[in-house]
């Protein structure tokens, strides 16, 4: 990824209320970047899903909201990081294979469909990092 970061903010996710705070800030940044209603709804929903995963499955973590520049493209990049249990069988979880991990898989697979770039690093005992990027469309 050759995009340069043009400002980033960090938010802790230490309570259920923090999910709404992250969501609100993502919405603001998206609107500042000129995202239309559809793109704003998409990235805000993805942020909500991913922040909720951090809270529900890891009981806490951090998120970062950054503006990114790639040539003439401007976008928003979100990162969600936790020291939770990690995900053992990622492909199966994202395909909705385990009922206990259903909301986790839904949040991950759903978010992936709403963004332009999706990157995840996770393994049992190593926590999880999810990074997504959505570019403004003109």
């Amino acid at each position: 990824m050759d995009a340069t970061v043009d400002g980033s903010e960090r938010f802790g996710i230490q309570s259920e209320a923090d999910i709404a705070l992250v969501r609100r800030r993502v919405r603001e940044v998206a609107q500042e970047l000129g995202f239309d209603a559809f793109a704003t709804a998409a990235i805000t929903t993805a942020a909500s899903e991913l922040a909720r995963n951090v809270w529900t499955h890891a009981h806490g973590g951090q998120s970062t909201i950054a503006r990114v520049l790639d040539g003439r493209r401007r976008g928003v990049r979100l990162e969600f990081r936790d020291q939770g249990p990690g995900i053992a069988d990622l492909p199966r979880v994202m395909a909705g294979g385990f009922s206990t991990a259903r909301s986790l898989g839904l949040g991950l697979s759903g978010s992936k469909r709403l963004v332009d770039e999706f990157h995840i690093e996770t393994s049992p005992g190593q926590g999880t990092l999810v990074q997504v990027t959505k570019w403004a469309r003109y």
Partner: protein, 122 residues
């Protein structure tokens, strides 16, 4: 967060509930219980949930809404979701969230028409 009265309007045999942007997280359970209590109190046969005030519906909110409809159904009340914004509809489908068992209509009038329409064979 205190459980304040949610705005509920009665239109004949139907309850009209407008969901504001703050329906999320810990308020969700209180919302559902308030709705069911209102159904019990009024004996309403129909429920319209107006979500035109929601600019975002994630899988959590979608589940709360779908569950509310299912709970009302157990009490014998049919429900219709109205006022879904275009960007919310687009996001739900793109995300792949299955809004199963949720009846929708465009606006309150359409929702009322749907609830009041005679149903064949029942």
């Amino acid at each position: 967060m205190s459980r304040g009265p949610i705005p509920i309007l009665r239109v004949g045999d139907t309850l009209l509930i407008t969901v504001h942007t703050d329906l999320h997280d810990t308020v969700a359970e209180a919302f559902q219980e308030d709705v069911l209590a209102a159904i019990e109190k009024t004996g309403a046969s129909g429920l319209i949930i107006d979500i035109s005030g929601l600019d975002m519906v994630d899988s959590y909110v979608a589940r709360v809404l779908a569950d509310t409809g299912r709970m009302a159904r157990l009490m014998g009340t049919r429900s219709v979701l109205v006022g879904m914004r275009p960007e919310v509809a687009a996001t739900l489908v793109r995300m792949g969230y299955p809004m199963e068992g949720v009846q929708t209509a465009l606006g309150v009038d359409d929702g009322l028409a749907l609830l009041n329409a005679p149903r064949p064979g029942r």
